[in-house]
Symmetry: C2
Subunit: 111 residues, 2 copies
């Protein structure tokens, strides 16, 4: 993760509807949700939803797979971990400092 990746990733979730979409997908877990189900949950018109899903996808925050007629979206958890790691990189000059010590660095082993 570097600045060129992080800025689009952050911009992707720095918007009311997209943040709602992303959090919904985080909560949905690896199974994900169909676009229609997201639209129902959030009350967004299809073209707006599609715009935001494409934005999140382009930024690598979510993934897409087709299941029959539906497109299923899932949150990319590793990307979020990488993003958090980047944001807190070299905290306090790398010295043991407290504020953000070991922020989300342990890269999440699957249970």
């Amino acid at each position: 993760m570097n600045t060129n990746d992080a800025v689009p990733a952050l911009a992707a979730i720095a918007q009311e509807h997209r943040l709602a979409i992303y959090r919904l997908l985080v909560q949905a877990g690896p199974e994900g949700m169909a676009a229609g189900a997201i639209a129902d949950a959030l009350g967004l018109p299809p073209s707006s939803l599609s715009f935001h899903l494409a934005h999140l996808n382009r930024a690598g925050m979510i993934a897409q797979r087709r299941e029959s007629r539906s497109l299923i979206y899932t949150a990319d958890f590793e990307r979020m971990n990488a993003l958090v790691g980047f944001l807190t990189d070299k905290c306090c000059g790398g010295q043991p400092c407290g504020p953000l010590a070991q922020p989300a660095s342990p890269p999440a082993k699957r249970a």
Copy 2:
């Protein structure tokens, strides 16, 4: 932390220059940096820097204090922790799942 706080917080760091400023301040630690030092480090014209600092400050990502003629800026570490916690809230429906288990939740005790 809720959506109304998180969107401005994310938008604040979702911009090339502001992300650079923020990361610089994270690395600077609690001592922070004067506006002028930030400008020197990043090569930004003063009015632009001020614009971005105000943006970050309004969003609560950084704090400001005066020291003689200089305004010193510091990263707000707790805010970042709260933000990360919000983003990964109820991951996978709250079940033990792996992907983002205990992301940055331990709220960082000072060393």
